[in-house]
């Protein structure tokens, strides 16, 4: 029963973010790109938060966010982008897709842990 879905094509980022969240008592499931993320979210209704990269092969994170709302019809799950990008154009697209927030890499777990826990009700 995963609470947080971490989506990133970098195994380094998946390991860093996933391990940090697990060490802090959160259940985590990993996906390698937007297509994989969409599939895993579809199969696990317990996921309450998606933390996703933007630039990924096969399906990028913003497209995945749009499909979560449109194709899956899932308006409840919180989506946060974790990316090197900081472009206002991308953020506007994310906002239009209903994402909850934006983190510019590198990931600093201590800065976001309390908010992540609040978003998943832990």
């Amino acid at each position: 029963m995963a609470q947080i879905l971490v989506v990133d094509d970098s195994s380094t980022v998946r390991a860093e973010v996933g391990d940090f969240l697990k060490k802090n008592g959160l259940d985590v499931i990993l996906a390698v790109d937007g297509r994989d993320g969409l599939s895993k979210l579809k199969g696990d209704p317990s996921i309450k938060l998606v933390v996703s990269d933007v630039n990924m092969p096969n399906m990028d994170g913003l497209t995945m966010a749009e499909k979560i709302r449109s194709e899956l019809g899932n308006a409840a799950v919180n989506i946060i982008m974790l990316t090197t990008e900081n472009s206002p154009i991308m953020k506007e697209r994310g906002k239009a897709a209903g994402i909850k927030g934006w983190i510019v890499k590198p990931f600093k777990g201590d800065a976001v842990l309390a908010t992540f826990k609040k978003l998943v009700g832990a």
């Binding site: 380094t12 860093e16 900081n86 800065a111």
Partner: protein, 183 residues
Amino acid sequence: MLSQSAKDGFDLLLTQSLKNSVVPSGAEAQILTLSDITDIPEKKIVVLTVSSYLFRLMVMFYFTPDAETRAHFARLNNIDEAEMSEQSFMDAIGESGNLCCGILNRDLGNFFPHIGMSTPNVIDRNCAQYLQKLNSQHIQHFAVDRDGVPRFHVSLCVSAYADIDFAVSAEELGSDTGELELF
């Protein structure tokens, strides 16, 4: 087509990005410019591009997959060196390059709004000898030095498709990272 100010700006932005991405947080690094890289020992390159419709730049990070380099990039990415496979080592180096070019991409975005970057790719060191063939207007090589970290090298190659002139100073740089911006 590239003004001297623009060349200096690209160099400054890259050196600042390197200091914030490929050396441990809070550590001081010395970054020297080199006239050529013929004799550098590294065997492989991670390459990324940052481009707009006005220019394309390539950043090449040279490395050798030895024990010292593996230890450095494991430490840098907060991953357990003992559990680092060959694939995860390559991924860790690629992610460091991704972070560096992400910072560069963001800073350049202040001057060029329509800009994007590639994902990292690993190529052979021998490819570097063909940089001159890209008809670029600016090639600069750097050595990154810090105590306890293996010296490594970076090349910047800028190809401009229009006249480019911008000025940047070190005081203007620096943006918050890692903080959650809630919408």
